[in-house]
Symmetry: C2
Subunit: 110 residues, 2 copies
Amino acid sequence: MSNKTDRADVLPGTLDMLILKTLTITPMHGYGIAQHIQQVSREAIQVEEGSLYPSLQRMQVKGWLTSEWGQSPTGRRARYYRLTAAGKKQLGAEVADFRKAIEAIQRVIQ
Amino acid sequence: MSNKTDRADVLPGTLDMLILKTLTITPMHGYGIAQHIQQVSREAIQVEEGSLYPSLQRMQVKGWLTSEWGQSPTGRRARYYRLTAAGKKQLGAEVADFRKAIEAIQRVIQ
DNA sequence: GACTACACATAGATTGGCTATGTATTGATC
DNA sequence: GATCAATACATAGCCAATCTATGTGTAGTC
């Protein structure tokens, strides 16, 4: 029974959005995406590999990302993910929906 | 494919919290809880019956609610749900977790 | 007597993210 | 040169939460 705020599902349904947002900075490999989200969220969000890679694959299938093999800064092979135009559009929609959702919930919980 | 913001799962995992919060006002029957959440959220959140009643049952099992049959204002039988002390405590915890979670996500999405 | 709103309830499906596991490489430490 | 931690990708199987769909029944209205 781990602390809820340790995990990516702090709010289920938001993982794709966090990944897409991270990739607006620069194309990144999976491990780097997870590190970035963890750091920016001040360790509040820990993206598990078992969530991360399936999500990256889902989003590639949907056309929101492309990827290619490359070299990580440490010299290891790594798959670099890049946001597509469709991915940017999707991100915009998800962020807008998210803001509407928390606004609605805030009204209920005051 | 309905509009996300039409449904209770605007943010999955928040339904129990919304119900608990609603019951801090006064004991209420299921239908009334759903109406209240819908109104306060300005129609942004629609609690489906197939989500509502299972949730009410889960929370009773966990001891967060009690219930008893009564009369609705329109003269029909209705099951009234009442928040327990454990339910109040749970609500506090869920609201705190929720605030932490959106804070963390906001940091990532700016 | 038909229809709408009210009211509760369950079955079955879907989704998302989890845990657990497996592979493999690099760099540091002993 | 062996061992270990960190880096890196990936899949299988599970679980929880909510959804859709469906069913029952009553009160009030036209």
